[in-house]
């Protein structure tokens, strides 16, 4: 009964989404006030019904209702409750429902928190989000119904994929979806602004906090995913340039460009057409990611059970959504006349450079991701494009970006002089050079790459901190710090995150060491200044798996610093073997041990040992960036600005239409 209720709720949500996608938009176009007023209640009602559907599916999981195909395929009576709850979004159908849920949550949030946005604009925004909703609800109901019943329910379910039975992977998808779908808000604002013919600074101000929050979720999602891959896959890597990873990274790169471009559009009314295009791109790449992950056109380690029929549906949806918005863009953008001017040396140019580099990097990653498809389509043979390509292309693009970061934040809006910038930057530049050249001396051996990495890290850190000094001018530093708005703090925190990340990524890839060894119990191996002593393997039982559990002690200078317990698990239902690495995390290094196979009868095993300096900095950096985005999104200014808009009335902000 409950699954049917969920199905019914979904159908009702679809009907409401259809209303939401049409009447408010037409109302805004023709000036029919009651239709405009429908936007808010209809969107909220749609949210209600999607929530009901979602709760029904969760109930089916908790109730072990194996007559529902999706539950039977992804749950089991022995599955811990936490994973029964996260299992709802663990596979294709349920994750689509989660997608639809996030979309309605974002829409609901827009109706609640954008009270200051003019009613007609809001109606269009909600309408555009309704159109996206219609697409996803149709997709779910026609190709991927999570509530489908089985004629002959099995006694027990096939269990959740063991890979997903992990706290990291339980929260990774929701974060990612919140980010992907969150870009639909910026997209909807951009489309609504184009529909209304009002592409000015106002839409940028309204969509800025939403973009930042979406970006924060996406950043966190990627960080958690990378961290999970590191400890769960047992390969010791943190980024593999897999198509599915790229699918989340592409919207992130464009989203980052969008945040910076929105700043210029809001503050100076500059790059209006460009910013709208980025807003369209960010969401389009989220949809493209969904297509790539679920259609099976590319091979990936993380692929969902793929199905070409689903692929066709998403492709049509993608073509309509993105094609339609780009068509609208080609018409509207041509009408925008920019009235701002700025100098070659100015913050605007800096932000443009940031955008160019980020968009070129996006293009490069997209090219690499799709290139195997291109050669196959054109019958040029089957090739693979992997990490060696991406590293060779991506890293050289990021170095100038990081260098420019220090300069950009320091440049004045509109006009600055090169001499002035040089004067301001020479001190941090000097210190960063000296520190960058000297710090590698503290490392096991001197490496030029490490010197470059550390120089970039120090450069970003110092210029970012120098920014306060620059703000203070002739006044006191402490008052400059006190009066810094949240937007400024967000920028500082986010940029420091980049510095931390750069140091982590660079030093880990340079100084990591790994070794595959055969060890008898009691035997030890020396790696990265640590002695790994293998004590043997015993059997252990988990709730739904059996494991072999190794013990490895790590010594440094004769002192025991860590006891590691790598495991090999076999999940009983899916009989899938899994490696759980034993990790001792540290601020400056991780020790990582993965269990291989037993060798012979003596109790010897093959083991993979890693010493990974600074690897945590990668994720700390990501967390800093996310924190920066969060701080910036909560800037008082958005709320003040909103009030001012209300006072001044919508007409005052209507610029060049």
């Amino acid at each position: 009964m409950i699954p049917e209720l969920g199905q019914f709720a979904l159908v009702l949500a679809l009907v409401l989404a259809l209303v939401q996608a049409t009447l408010p938009v037409i109302g805004a176009h023709k000036g029919i006030a009651p239709w405009i007023a429908l936007a808010r209640p209809v969107a909220q009602a749609q949210l209600l019904f999607v929530v009901v559907a979602y709760l029904c599916l969760t109930y089916a999981f908790l109730d072990n209702d194996f007559s529902v195909r999706y539950v039977a395929s992804n749950s089991n009576t022995e599955l811990p409750v936490l994973y029964q709850i996260s299992g709802v979004w663990g596979a294709h159908e349920g994750s689509l429902l989660f997608w639809a849920l996030t979309l309605s949550i974002w829409t609901g949030a827009v109706t609640l928190f954008s009270r200051s946005v003019p009613a007609a604009m809001l109606a269009r925004v909600v309408g555009v989000m309704g159109m996206v909703s219609v697409g996803f609800l149709l997709f779910m109901l026609f190709t991927s119904n999570p509530f489908e019943r089985l004629p002959n329910p099995p006694l027990d379910g096939r269990d959740l994929n063991p890979l997903l039975q992990d706290p990291g992977l339980a929260i990774h998808p929701p974060l990612l979806y919140m980010g992907y779908v969150g870009f639909s808000v910026a997209f909807a604002f951009a489309i609504a602004a184009m529909l209304g013919g009002r592409l000015d600074a106002a839409w940028a101000r309204w969509s800025r906090p939403w973009t930042s929050i979406a970006w924060v979720f996406l950043t966190l999602g990627i960080v958690v995913g990378s961290w999970w891959a590191y400890y769960e896959l047992g390969w010791g890597g943190w980024w593999f340039w897999d198509p599915v990873e790229n699918a989340s990274f592409l919207p992130w790169l464009v989203g980052t460009a969008l945040m910076h471009s929105l700043a210029a559009t809001e503050k100076r009314g500059a790059f209006k057409a460009w910013t709208v295009l980025l807003a369209i791109f960010a969401f389009s790449l989220s949809l493209l990611g969904t297509f790539l992950v679920r259609s099976g056109v590319l091979t990936s380690v993380h692929a969902f059970a793929t199905d070409p029929e689903r692929g066709v549906f998403i492709l049509i949806f993608l073509a309509l959504t993105v094609g339609g918005s780009l068509l609208l863009y080609s018409w509207r953008a041509a009408q925008i006349r920019s009235t701002v001017s700025f100098d070659l040396v100015s913050r605007e140019t800096g932000l443009l450079l940031n955008n160019v580099l980020l968009v070129v990097a996006t293009g490069a990653v997209l090219l690499g991701t799709l290139y195997p498809l291109i050669t196959e389509t054109l019958n040029l043979g089957k090739i693979s494009v992997g990490p060696p390509y991406f590293n060779a292309v991506f890293v050289p693009l990021m170095i100038p970006l990081v260098l420019a970061m220090g300069v950009g934040a320091m440049a004045r809006w509109k006009q600055d002089s090169a001499a002035n910038l040089v004067r301001k930057l020479r001190t941090p530049l000097g210190i960063a050079l000296v520190l960058g050249l000297l710090t590698p001396l503290l490392m096991p051996y001197y490496h030029l790459g490490a010197a470059l990495t550390l120089f970039l890290g120090f450069w970003v850190t110092l210029t970012t901190l120098w920014w306060f000094h620059d703000r203070a001018g002739h006044g006191s530093l402490s008052s400059a710090i006190r009066t810094t708005p949240r937007g400024g703090w967000g920028m500082v925190t986010g940029h420091l995150g980049i510095a931390v990340f750069v140091i982590g990524a660079g030093l880990t890839s340079i100084y990591s060491s790994e070794k595959d060894v055969r060890l008898d119990p009691g035997q030890s191996y020396e790696l990265g200044g640590h002695e790994f002593k293998f004590l043997g393997v015993v059997s252990a039982e988990g709730p739904n798996y059996s494991a072999e559990r190794g013990t490895v002690e790590a010594y440094k200078g004769g002192d025991l610093v860590a006891t590691l317990h790598p495991e090999k698990r076999v999940y009983r239902v899916q009989t899938m073997p899994m490696t759980e690495a034993g990790i001792d995390a540290g601020l400056f290094r991780d020790l990582f041990v993965a269990l291989g196979e037993p060798l012979g009868q003596s109790g010897a095993w093959s083991l993979r040992l890693y010493h990974k300096p600074f690897v945590r900095w990668i994720w700390f950096g990501g967390l800093f960036m996310a924190l920066g985005g969060l701080i910036a999104a909560t800037d008082r200014r958005y709320f003040q600005a909103a009030r001012r808009t209300v006072k001044a009335g919508p007409e005052a902000v209507a610029g060049a239409a």
Binding site: E266, S341, V356
Partner: protein, 156 residues
Amino acid sequence: MSRLLTAVFLLLICVAAEGGKVEAYAFDSAADEARYKQLVAELRCLVCQNQNLQDSNAELAQDMRRQTYEMVSAGKSNEQIVTYMVDRYGDFVLYRPPLKSSTFLLWVGPFILLLIGLGALLWVVLRIKRTPEPELTTEQHERARQLLEQDEDKNP
């Protein structure tokens, strides 16, 4: 190509999470070991969805690792080993696509994009600089005042 093909064509199953099988190979020199590590990191496992030889636990990948190890130990050069694999499995085994006419755009594309991007940037900046500020309407004056106010919020 029919999709049915994949369904009936059984690959020696590999499971992403199991991690690479760990083989404790002994090498004559550290240079050989480094060569081996680089090779197995850049050669693709054919059986798996998208993994290099090192990370794959597929049985064919084990055998290809052993082959790589044997060739490294026999003093074969990296090129010889890569050629050996490509002769059998095609360019698909290489995660670093070789530069040839079909991959020219792949390798050069990002730099063309960069040139276009920088060119566009210069064009925009120089054009904007040349355009004189147009006469402002009262409405635009009002907006300018607002924008300045916001600027002051951030940069007093």
